[in-house]
């Protein structure tokens, strides 16, 4: 297995559209990295430059020790799973899976047969070798596409939104399955998706892309809990975002003035006063005034603290059950809508109730606007 490195990779289309704008990333051998971002952010173009379907206008792409920036796709040894699987319709499943090995010319017929059987075993579809793609369900085609990509023992696995065309249940099943197979083989994997939930649940690291650039690269929990930018906070999961100006900053904390409220947040980077910033507050970090914390009963000390800092009075406008948790929408007296998510069974508020929610400054993140 090999590492993949992109250095200043840029793609500018004729006509001047800048699809990818100087991205850098080193993907370690065996790592599962997800490129995630809204459509048009350049993630698919980046993947296609790794696969060799697009040539960077600038920068370098390396797979293992080889600079492959200008190598054609068929000399790169990557295995790709396409969005619509692209199983060759005029070939059987066996022929599809054997295709890469036959093209390489390095395998005997016996080896190919054995490898095809092994691959079908790996994706748990041993009996389908003689069928044609149109006789398989979407989920089965997905597995075969994976088997075909892995059969010639590529250096890296590239996945271009492979789960997008599956229904929700199957998608979740395939997420687990894909990760299992990837870990079993230990293959370096680049996964492209616009689905932030998929990115968060599947990756070792994820790279959030926007406008052709990487906004942030890191493990899922880090990117989720500690977003580098307003975009990342907003794109991954749900976030309550308070745009304002730092009124004062001291000892790793800052007080931020927004139009309607003042909010206190951690400020580890020590951003200076009078800077335009956004405070990111995740819904599950809020709690209702006087309610129990997740761990136990609230102490009177924290209750009084909440009274003065980061407490928002308002009316509950909407409530829905998400299964293990409950989501509330609260309209503050200042006219701001807050999303609050609490574990089921902790609170008994209903739409129309007046209430106060609070959040610890420790649970707030400050990003420059």
């Amino acid at each position: 297995m090999s590492n993949i490195s992109l250095e200043g990779v840029t793609k500018r289309y004729p006509g001047g559209v800048l699809a990818v704008d100087g991205v850098d990333i080193d993907i370690e051998s065996g790592e599962f990295v997800t490129l995630v971002g809204p459509s048009g952010c350049g993630k698919t173009t980046t993947l296609r430059m790794i696969a060799g379907f697009e040539t960077p206008t600038d920068g370098e792409v390396a797979i293992g020790d080889n600079d492959v920036t200008d190598a054609p796709p068929y000399e790169r040894d990557t295995g790709m799973v396409f969005q619509d699987f692209a199983l060759f319709p005029h070939m059987t499943i066996r022929e599809n899976v054997a295709y890469g090995m036959e093209a390489s010319g390095e395998y005997t017929d016996e080896e190919i047969d054995a490898r095809v059987a092994e691959m079908l075993e790996l994706v748990e579809l041993p009996g389908v070798a003689d069928r044609t793609p149109d006789q398989l369900s979407g989920g089965q085609q997905q597995r075969i596409a994976l088997a075909r990509a892995l059969a010639p023992k590529p250096k890296a696995l590239l996945l271009d939104e492979p789960l997008a065309s599956l229904d929700k249940k199957l998608r979740e099943q395939m997420q687990v399955e894909l990760r299992r197979i990837q870990e079993e083989i230990g293959i370096t994997t680049v996964f492209v998706t616009h689905n932030q939930e998929e990115a968060l649940t599947m990756s070792d690291r994820l790279a959030v892309m926007n406008d052709g650039r990487f906004e942030q690269i890191g493990p899922p929990e880090e990117v989720y809990d500690d977003p580098d930018s307003r975009f990342v906070a907003d794109f991954l999961g749900t976030a309550n975002i308070f745009d304002g100006v730092i009124a004062s900053a001291e000892d790793g904390y800052a007080t931020v003035d927004c139009d309607d409220v003042t909010i206190r947040s951690t400020n580890p980077a020590g951003i200076d006063p009078r800077t335009d910033v956004s405070v990111v507050a995740r819904p599950e970090r809020f709690r209702f005034e006087g309610a129990s914390t997740d761990g136990g009963a609230a102490t009177s000390e924290t209750a009084t603290l909440s009274d003065s800092i980061n407490a928002f009075d308002g009316t509950i406008t909407f409530k829905r059950h998400l299964g293990s948790s409950v989501e509330f929408r609260l309209e503050t007296d200042g006219g701001r809508e807050l999303v609050v998510v609490r574990r089921s069974g902790l609170d008994e508020h209903a739409p129309g109730d007046r209430t106060t929610v609070t959040i610890d400054p420790e649970d707030c993140r400050l990003v420059e606007a």
């Binding site: 068929y74 890469g100 093209a103």
Partner: protein
């Protein structure tokens, strides 16, 4: 640093781009060679020839004179025949539209797939049988000893046998018979493309069948109406065989006059000038059609006013310019000159149907409509199928002359056909020419389609137009242009000349089919193959070609069958030296009617049907 890397990459890019540019021009050069050097050059020579000076007796002199054009445009004879040609074509197009629409609609909406395939195959098969045989079939029907006349006498409508041809209406019937299939197929595909859900939505919203037709089906099939009408009009304009075999001397259309100038008078400059005149008519019509179709497209989005505004405009110009000759049907023609003008006619019929049928309950209403439909479609299908069936029937006559019904059953004329050396030479010529022409067509059309699909060219649209242009030029003009060209080159009167002319003339079929195939291939299949390590050549061999094969072979078979059945181009280029089956049949029709012609025709029809079925099988129902 930054500038360095930019220049590095720049050099690299241009290096690879250079390689790619070489491939791309290399791929394009082959089809472009044929379509310019061997197609545009003869057409250009035709233009040049039209200004040369004719010396009576088959000679001409290099020079510049407008005399040929002056003669063409000032002679009441030639102008009159020009208007007649246009009028005949319009009548044919409009009759085909009126007769064809209900059939196309029925075929598109019927729910028995096997019957639909059968009907479509019947229509399509008759389409490819040479005009010569089909005109001959109508001679058999319309002649004084023919079927219609005998039937008339038997029933007592006619006092004595009479002939319904040669003459205007006999010719119109023959033209409609020949061109109706084109109209039906064009309309069929456009009606078939209308999503069933749209019709269900309309019914769900409370619209009855007539209203659904008027408000949904008809507007959505307008483009089909426009292209079908245009297609039939252009084909009719260029038609030589039918006016020659079914028309009297009064119905000598422009293609007939052109052929006469070339083959009988050997007046090449004047023939060339008339050819240019015919091309101008085609181009003018196409121009009007494109403009009108654009307006029609606009009217799809709701503004009916624009469409009806365009109608009288076009109709008016056609109507006023055809003063003098086209008195017979001119007013009707003018009213319905464009598909746009037809809007009102069709809506009128729809409204009438609506008001009649709203008095009955809806189930009865639908069944009445379908029963009427079925009766009509049966009659129309008979019109399409019976003439060739009659040829088959008379081919088995044991008698010396053509009679219907045949007075017995015998294979003697088949024996005569297969034992006659001249028929066998003609058959061998026909097959050999068609095979070679099909290969040429497929390489030209397929090559161009591939080049245009895979690479970006500056003048892509022009090359694309060049790919379909040959088929838009009336065949008689192709024949004259190539004759002029091959006379200079010294190949006139050879099989090679006919092969090249057919190969280029029918290249649009493989071009269109292969282009369509390439468009339909999902590019990710090829990307997947390359990702799995397949080189470009391996990718084409194992992925692209197999996915494209049906289209390539269908294209080749189309070219084969069309070349097999082509008469006028082969005839003009033959210089009486090469015989093909259509030429042989045509020549014999001029002098006598031995039943061998019928036997030859049946063999030929059989060949055609076999090839058509092969195409159908291959493409898994290309007609869907």
């Amino acid at each position: 640093m930054a500038t360095e890397s930019v220049s590095d990459d720049g050099a690299d890019e241009s290096g690879r781009a250079g390689l790619k540019a070489n491939t791309k021009w290399f791929v394009l050069s082959y089809p472009l060679f044929w379509l310019t050097a061997i197609f545009l050059v003869p057409l250009a020579m035709l233009v040049v020839f039209s200004f040369w000076i004719n010396i009576p007796g088959g000679q001409y002199e290099l020079g510049f004179t407008l005399e040929n054009y002056v003669r063409f445009l000032t002679s009441t004879l030639y102008l009159g025949q020009l208007w007649l040609t246009i009028e005949l074509s319009l009548v044919t197009a409009i009759l085909s539209l009126l007769l064809g629409y209900p059939i196309a609609y029925y075929l598109a909406r019927m729910d028995r797939p096997w019957l639909r395939s059968l009907l479509l195959l019947t229509i399509i098969s008759s389409l490819w049988v040479t005009y010569v045989i089909r005109a001959y079939a109508w001679q058999v029907i319309l002649a004084s000893g023919g079927i219609l006349s005998s039937f008339g006498v038997a029933v007592g409508i006619l006092a004595e046998p009479r002939s319904f041809y040669p003459g205007y209406w006999g010719l119109v019937v023959g033209m409609v018979y020949v061109f109706l299939p084109f109209m039906i197929l064009t309309l069929y595909s456009s009606i078939r493309n209308i999503d069933d859900e749209l019709l269900e939505a309309s019914k769900n919203l409370g619209a009855g069948p007539a209203r659904t037709f008027r408000k949904v089906t008809y507007p959505l099939s307008k483009n089909g109406i426009a292209s079908g009408t245009a297609l039939v009009f252009i084909l009719a304009l260029g038609s030589y065989v039918l006016p020659r075999l079914l028309g009297s001397s009064a119905e000598r259309t422009l293609p007939v006059l052109i052929e006469q100038q070339i083959m009988s008078e050997s007046n090449y400059p004047f023939g060339a000038a008339m050819s240019i005149g015919l091309i101008v008519v085609v181009l003018a019509f196409l121009w009007v059609m494109i403009r009108v179709t654009n307006v029609t497209t606009g009217s799809l989005s709701g503004s009916d006013e624009i469409a009806t505004d365009g109608g009288p405009d076009v109709a008016g110009s056609v109507g006023s310019s055809s003063s003098g000759v086209g008195t017979r049907v001119r007013s009707t023609v003018a009213d319905a000159a464009s598909s746009v003008g037809l809007t009102r006619a069709v809506s009128g019929i729809g409204a009438a149907v609506d008001s009649v049928v709203t008095t009955v309950d809806s189930t009865t209403r639908e069944s009445i409509i379908w029963v009427t439909f079925r009766a009509y479609v049966t009659a129309a299908m008979a019109f399409i199928a019976v003439p060739l069936a009659i040829i088959v029937a008379v081919s088995f006559t044991p008698e010396e002359f053509l009679t219907f019904p045949p007075g017995g059953f015998s294979f003697r004329w088949y024996v005569a056909f297969f034992t006659d050396a001249s028929w066998m030479v003609a058959l061998a010529n026909s097959l050999g020419i068609a095979l070679a022409a099909a290969i040429l067509s497929t390489t030209i059309g397929g090559g161009l389609a591939f080049a245009l699909d895979r690479f970006d060219y500056r003048w892509e649209t022009i090359y694309g137009t060049l790919g379909v242009l040959p088929i838009l030029v009336p065949p008689v003009i192709i024949g004259v242009a190539f004759l002029v060209f091959f006379l200079e080159v010294g190949l006139a009167g050879s099989r090679t000349a006919i092969i090249v002319a057919h190969g280029i003339f029918y290249a649009p079929f493989p071009f269109i089919l292969v282009s369509q195939g390439l468009r339909e291939i999902d590019r990710t299949y090829e990307e997947a193959a390359m990702n799995l390590g397949a080189s470009p050549v391996r990718t084409i061999r194992t992925i692209t070609y197999p996915l494209l094969r049906a289209n390539v072979i269908s294209g080749a078979l189309f070219a084969f069958i069309l070349s097999l059945n082509e008469y006028i181009i082969a005839w003009l280029l033959s210089l009486f030296l090469v015989e093909t089956i259509p030429i042989q049949i045509f020549n014999q029709l001029r002098y006598s009617y031995p039943p061998t012609i019928a036997a030859a025709s049946v063999v030929f029809i059989g060949l055609t049907v076999v090839v058509m079925t092969a195409i159908d099988r291959l493409s898994g129902g290309i007609w869907e």
